[in-house]
Amino acid sequence: MELVPQLIINGLLYGSLLALPAIGFTTIFAVLRFPNFSVASIATIGAFAALVANVDLGLPIIASVAVAFLVAGAVGVATDKIVLQPMRPYGALTTAIASIALTVVLENMVRFGFGNDIRGYDLPILRDWRFWGIRVGPQQVENLIVSAAVMTALFLFLRFGRFGKAMRAVADNPQLALLKGIPTERVTQLAVFIAMGLVGIGGVLQGLGTAIDPLTGFRFILSIFAAAVVGGLGSIPGAVAGAFVIGIGEELSLVVLDATYKSTVGFFAILLVLTLRPQGLLGRKRA
């Protein structure tokens, strides 16, 4: 078994899992101009919503993913309206800190509802396929397909739909968008709904390959944040690129670093990008 090609494949597959929540995170930053760290718990909530749909209601996985999208989106919009919107006049930093508090509250609400135990979806665990000494898990391939399908749908929706244009206008200049008659408040809420829905799907996909508990989302928040920063905060294609950079970087780091230091890749990437290219890989320079 060749280690380096295997690590690159592992990184690509991990990157595809990171991409959706990273898109969600960066979209919220694009329209609302603050990093919303409550995505950690929203991912967990998505994962648990799909668990209820799959295990308790017996729905198939694809339907459970849709449930996760709706529930995570709804919780995301509701918490934004109730908790974060009143904070926004006090600045991005205040709102970001409030979002950290929010994620702790949401995580503990999941604990109250579901307990601390680790849960698994009603899915068989299959042995990996092997091609030329490289192994790939059937579940990972399925996750990759779901992730790619959702991303394609999103790009088409944003590129060709009226909403996509409206969202870009609001992200560019909310005042101007309002003057042009774009209902910025509604556009913002819909953007948050879609973004948080994607984060929820990210939580499910993460859980399908492993297991879930109330800390599921918290475990990959640093990678999500790093992916968004590396790609350029506010840039959706950037978030996808950033997700793959971080995914591959974390896995490849095992060649030179102890496994204990895997997370330093995220920190290091953030540091490097903020120092050398603050706008990120695909972000736009701000005046």
């Binding site: 601390n116 665990i125 092997r130 390959g209």
Partner: protein, 401 residues
């Protein structure tokens, strides 16, 4: 409206006389000893969240029984419960509150070794006892001045038992894989020693605890083609790891501590992933009177080893305070070995022990977790281990060592 009190001369004299005679009494009569205050500091949430609530309940059960019979030192015992969140930062905040604000004399039930390591200085610097169930060797080697008592076999003993079991099962290429914990390095060293003594090879990999996948780590450890793995983590990461090992097609033997390959892991993973995995644990003294009491307190058939231990913590603490006639951490520290070992009458609960102590006798407490005899640095001197094998999704007793 004002109300004026008139004190008559006779009343004044009587009051003064009473006050004076009170002052003349010996100090011991005048000063009712302070009530014993116990702080439970168990992992109610986080990786240890499966155990924390029942660990706390076992302590509360002991305290309720003693309070029902009048308490200790003539007063009811007070109990304050906090959550470690299985996080050293949160645990230190909670310990500071217990020590500084609530004024407890003893903190009991810290579970994860990293948590205990962080909480221990808070306790010994304020001269409070710390009763723990953590296994890392380094804990009792801290300069704790006698303020730490642990009922869990230390990791040296645990790992040696597991490594020798692996050899007995025919392991030739042994490997340790687990997260960074205070016992990771020492576990690897002990396993390497056992492997070398038996002509087996040994590999190890320490990973980061909170990751959602260990595929690449599995690729790395499997590059050495091990035939028996020791899984050194906790339940959450072990769930991820077991799954990744199965998917990678690993077919060799595996053993993990029972706290990591626990019921929640069995529930979360399909049976085929866990088939043939061994677990091992220091086992409670099943069949003892103390064990039956914990069963009754918790209302369960099977008591986990940690709740059995915290039951012992509470009993040891109460008996030590009674034997010392004092509720301070120092008094408990000085007296704990006088009631846990020696020639005293064997007892398995605080109520019986308190009666014997009140009658001027000596006691030797033997608890739900085992004999509860301690070395100078606070380690238990012996315990029994139970090896189980997972068959068809359930852990079946395999061997007692």
């Amino acid at each position: 409206m004002h109300k004026t009190f008139h004190v008559r001369r006779r009343q004044f004299l009587a009051g003064t006389a009473a006050g004076a005679s009170l002052l003349a009494m010996p100090a011991i009569v005048r000063a009712q000893p302070a009530a014993l205050r116990i702080g439970t500091l168990t992992p109610l949430t986080g990786a240890g969240g499966n155990y924390g609530p029942s660990m706390r309940d076992a302590i509360v059960g002991v305290v309720d029984a003693v309070n029902g019979a009048g308490g200790v030192l003539g007063q009811p015992i007070e109990i304050i419960s906090e959550d470690t969140q299985t996080s050293p930062e949160a645990a230190v905040r909670a310990a500071r509150k217990l020590v500084d604000l609530d004024g407890v004399s003893a903190v009991m039930g810290t579970w994860a070794s990293a948590v205990t390591t962080a909480v221990a200085p808070v306790c010994w610097e304020s001269a409070r006892m710390l009763f723990t169930v953590s296994g890392a060797d380094s804990i009792t080697q801290l300069p704790h001045m006698g303020y730490i008592i642990r009922t869990q076999p230390n990791s040296q003993l645990q790992i040696r038992v597991a490594a020798e079991f692996m050899i007995a099962q025919g392991a030739q290429r042994m490997a340790w894989i687990g997260p960074q914990t205070p016992f990771a390095e020492s576990s690897i060293a002990i396993m390497a020693e056992v492997a070398a003594a038996n002509g087996a090879s040994m590999e190890s990999l320490i990973y980061e605890a909170d990751k959602t996948s260990y595929r690449s780590e599995v690729d790395q450890i499997m590059a050495g083609d091990p035939d028996f793995l020791l899984l050194g983590g906790y339940a959450t990461d072990t769930t991820v790891l077991l799954r990744d090992l199965y998917q990678a097609g690993y077919e060799g033997g595996m053993i993990g501590p029972a706290y990591a390959v626990n019921q929640s892991v069995l529930d979360a993973l399909p049976a085929e992933v866990l088939e043939g995995v061994f677990t091992w644990e220091g086992t409670p003294d099943i069949g003892s009177g103390a064990y039956a009491r914990v069963q009754e307190i918790l209302g369960v058939d099977v008591v986990d080893p940690y709740s059995a231990q915290t039951y012992d913590h509470a009993n040891l603490c109460i008996l030590a305070a009674a034997a010392a006639s004092g509720a301070s951490g120092e008094a408990i520290r000085d007296a704990v070995r006088t009631i846990s070992q020696g020639d005293g009458e064997a007892v398995d609960n605080a109520l019986d022990g308190l009666e014997i102590l009140a009658a001027g006798g000596a006691v030797n407490y033997t608890g739900a977790s085992g004999p509860c005899d301690f070395t100078e640095i606070g380690d238990i001197t012996g315990t029994q281990f139970l090896i189980k094998r997972i068959e068809g999704g359930a852990a079946v007793d395999f061997e007692r060592i």
